[in-house]
């Protein structure tokens, strides 16, 4: 698990909106109106000034500067007056943000909204034919499809997690050590496949998945890793739980997992949440699994590793249609690097699972780590491509 629970929900819940691409860029002094060149927007409390009212269609960039005293927003709205093609929000006074959209020829409206209320300051904007970039008219539909598919995947994994946790908790509470040990890494894979979702609940995640080092003084050690310790640690320095203690921990896992599953099914995703979640899973692998820190007692890190990768790949596959025609190269690179990592991981399959982390040699760990980095780097480019 991550050291902190709140960063992912930021991406998931406070996501950037379905079609908006906000990225903060340095203030631009660009005044040119060359085809496709950035258009500078100055938003004051009373005015919204653009350096051009027309440019060619395709990839269009606006450098929006807040020259006013209130928080402002900038929108590009389609001719029907309803559909937001792109938006950038939360620009503090004096700050600049960039908006990049892919849009076809036609009539549009730009809108600055100082104070983030009311109808804002609007004017007409035209995109002429002569594209510098391909425009897929069905982009919005593709984005909706991706989100829907991923939502189904999350629901499916969440259900499996709830069922598996029940089974595991029962075995543990009953003192069936061998059965609990066998179930442990397999059931956890359902958690790890949707880890960014599970982690987005800052109240439940520590109860269910905190590692011992993550706790602060006085905080109770509960959940998966508490049980892991009890199942695997055998030396004299550790006192095994009593039957009553086991029951209490097991009950807590079941109750909290149930709550988590019901909440997970209610999350409304955006495409950037999918891509950020996918990248987040690779980060999980890079910081916790490939270093053997996650499963300190059971050493079943490779199960988590594999599940993280599966979750990341599912999100990527759902988003892949959005790269078609806009960034085929990134699509090909990611496809190839996912395959390479999966192939490498397959070498360590054993029975229904994987070899223990402690059975890996230093060279093998380094090889896995390099493959994770090789995938993680291009994966970090995915969000900016799919939100267009």
């Amino acid at each position: 698990m991550k050291l902190i629970q709140r960063a992912v929900p930021l991406a998931l819940i406070a996501g950037l909106g379905l079609t908006g691409c906000t990225s903060n860029a340095q203030p631009s002094s660009a005044t040119g109106t060359e085809a496709g060149g950035p258009i500078a927007v100055s938003s004051t409390d009373t005015e919204c000034t653009l350096t051009a009212s027309e440019t060619s269609s395709g990839t269009v960039t606006f450098n929006v500067k807040n020259d006013g005293t209130q928080v402002t927003e900038f929108y590009l709205i389609a001719s029907d007056g309803n559909r937001i093609v792109g938006e950038v929000e939360n620009i503090g006074p004096g700050l600049s943000r960039q908006l990049t959209v892919i849009a076809g020829p036609g009539s549009y409206t730009t809108q600055c909204k100082p104070g983030m209320v009311g109808d804002g300051i609007t004017q007409d904007f035209t995109l002429t034919a002569g594209a510098n970039g391909t425009v897929d008219a069905n982009r919005v539909a593709l984005q909706e499809d991706a989100v829907k598919q991923y939502q189904e995947f999350v629901a499916q994994e969440a259900d499996a997690l709830e069922a598996g946790t029940g089974e595991f908790a029962a075995a543990f509470a009953a003192g069936n050590v061998a059965e609990a040990k066998a179930l442990y890494p397999a059931v956890r894979m359902h958690w790890e496949r949707i880890e960014p979702v599970a982690e987005s609940f800052g109240d439940l995640d520590p109860i269910l998945d905190a590692r011992e080092a993550d706790l602060e003084e006085g905080q109770e050690f509960t959940g998966w890793h508490r049980v892991e310790k009890d199942l695997w640690v055998t030396d004299a320095s550790y006192t095994k739980m009593t039957a009553a203690e086991r029951q209490e921990i097991a009950d807590g896992m079941v109750t909290n997992t149930k709550e988590l599953v019901s909440r997970a099914k209610e999350i409304e995703f955006t495409v950037d949440a999918l891509s950020n979640g996918s990248k987040g899973l690779l980060d999980e692998v890079a910081t916790g699994k490939v270093t053997g820190e996650e499963e300190a007692f059971s050493h079943t890190d490779l199960w988590d590793f594999a599940a993280n990768i599966e979750g990341a790949k599912t999100a990527f596959e759902d988003l892949k249609p959005l790269l078609k025609g806009t960034n085929d190269e990134l699509s090909a690179t990611l496809t190839k690097n996912f395959t390479e990592l999966e192939t490498l991981l397959a070498k360590y399959e054993k029975g229904d699972g994987y070899v223990l982390y402690t059975d890996l040699t230093e060279a093998q760990i380094q090889e896995l780590s390099a493959a994770v980095d090789a995938l993680g780097e291009p994966l970090s480019q995915l969000t900016s491509e799919v939100v267009k």
Binding site: I4, P93, E217, T287, Q366, E377
Partner: protein
């Protein structure tokens, strides 16, 4: 010699003697006489590259932060109180020499000593200037009592209450070989070789009395302690220490840094302070893969100018109330929000940390981070509550791992003829 040479470094002394490089200096067996120094002072205007060693407070705390660090913690290996005091005396003399840009010991590095004996000074700083070297010495809790609470060196009754054992913070992955220690020595300079030279010579003087427990090199100060300094950047590429208190603000130093009014057994701490050290590993690679939007959200400031996300410029006061589309523009768990005095009962700490890199780890990842150093009047009020909140909530914690930790009592400064920590040992 000490007073009159202020501002004159080794390089100038040597060039005044007409000696070019190190090799020549050794060959010529040049004598650094007071006369030569005076001549140098007259020929060239002194460059202010020494920091006075003697004073009410130790140097290296409110001193404008130099760019390089070599910090070392020692475990005292002797049981003899006299030997410990003797070491502190030797160290004090050596520190006074080195910070003045001079060699350690009467015979120096390559001059008047026996040809058959190793030189007293190790010599690698010979042709370098004083580089604003400061050396700051402090005492860990373990110098006063051992792990079982048993007195050491008769100091137990003088253990200040504020010199606590730090609690385990959420996410701590501390390594004992990078934590704690009986004595700490912080050497800071503009030139890394000068800082390393200082620690190396002190280590040498300590053999048989104390041994190094851990040490760390740092480069690139990560905060400014003076209004004359621009705000530097940490290894995440963000300006760090924008809101750090500045040493020119004496009222803030008196309230938040310098101990006063300590009575009884810990009266020796007056004019001193407490130093918190934390070795913070940064997961550089995953940070570099996070979007600029996430990076800025985590920090609460823009990367380019350091302006708070609530608007304005670098030194504009953050507005934590200013609402955006989905909650405050500055996330309440951003680094800037959690570190701000308004969220910490108004307490402030004088941060004086450094970037650090120990090459790469076994996975080829940069073993890099921030060596956090802060000076506070009382760690119980000025560090523990803030770190507790940050370890738990700071969005930045996801990219950090605390691997080393230390807390040291920094005694007052010394005047000529005294040794560092004399107040403690004479009180005892």
């Amino acid at each position: 010699m000490a007073e009159s040479t202020a501002g004159v470094g080794r390089r100038k002394i040597l060039s005044a003697l007409g000696v070019g490089g190190v090799g020549l200096a050794v060959g010529a067996g040049g004598v650094l006489s007071a006369q030569a120094v005076t001549a140098a002072s007259q020929e060239e205007p002194a460059v202010a590259d020494t920091v006075p060693f003697y004073g009410a407070h130790q140097a290296g705390i409110t001193t404008a932060v130099q760019d390089r660090l070599h910090i070392a913690a020692f475990d005292v290996t002797t049981d003899s109180r006299d030997e410990l005091i003797e070491l502190l005396k030797e160290w004090t003399a050596a520190i006074a020499s080195m910070t003045a840009g001079q060699e350690v010991g009467g015979d120096g590095a390559a001059t008047e000593g026996s040809y058959e004996a190793p030189p007293e000074d190790t010599g690698e700083a010979l042709d370098l200037s004083a580089s604003h070297l400061t050396v700051t010495v402090g005492f860990g809790r373990s110098l006063f009592v051992d792990a079982d609470g048993k007195a050491r060196f008769g100091l137990k009754d003088h253990l200040p209450e504020a010199l606590i054992e730090l609690p385990h913070f959420s996410g701590d992955q501390l390594e004992s070989s990078r934590s704690d220690g009986d004595i700490v020595v912080q050497a800071c300079a503009d030139d890394p070789q000068v800082a390393v030279h200082a620690v190396r010579n002190l280590v040498r003087l300590a053999f048989g009395t104390a041994r190094v427990r851990w040490s760390q090199l740092g480069f690139g100060r990560t905060s400014s302690t003076s209004t004359s300094q621009v705000t530097p950047r940490n290894l995440f590429g963000f300006k760090d220490g924008t809101a750090n208190p500045k040493s020119e603000d004496e009222a803030v130093m008196d309230e938040h840094v310098w101990v006063s009014g300590a009575a009884g057994g810990s009266a020796w701490m007056n004019e001193g302070t407490y130093m918190v050290t934390r070795r913070i590993r940064m997961t550089i690679e995953t940070w570099d893969r996070s979007s600029l939007a996430e990076q800025e959200t985590v920090i609460g400031r823009t990367k380019k100018t350091g302006a708070p996300l609530s608007g304005g410029e670098e030194f504009t006061e953050p507005n934590f109330e200013l609402a955006g589309r989905r909650g405050p523009l500055i996330d309440e768990n951003s680094h800037v929000a959690l570190a701000h005095p308004s969220r910490n009962n108004g307490v402030r700490m004088l941060r004086r940390g450094f970037n650090d890199t120990d090459g790469s780890d076994n996975l080829g990842r940069l073993d890099a981070g921030l060596f956090f150093i802060a000076f506070v009047v009382d760690p119980r009020t000025h560090y523990v509550p803030m770190q507790t909140a940050m370890a738990k909530n700071d969005l930045l914690s996801e990219y950090l791992r605390h691997t080393g930790s230390g807390l040291f009592a920094i005694p007052a400064g010394v005047s000529e003829g005294q040794y560092v920590g004399q107040g403690l040992f004479e009180a005892a």
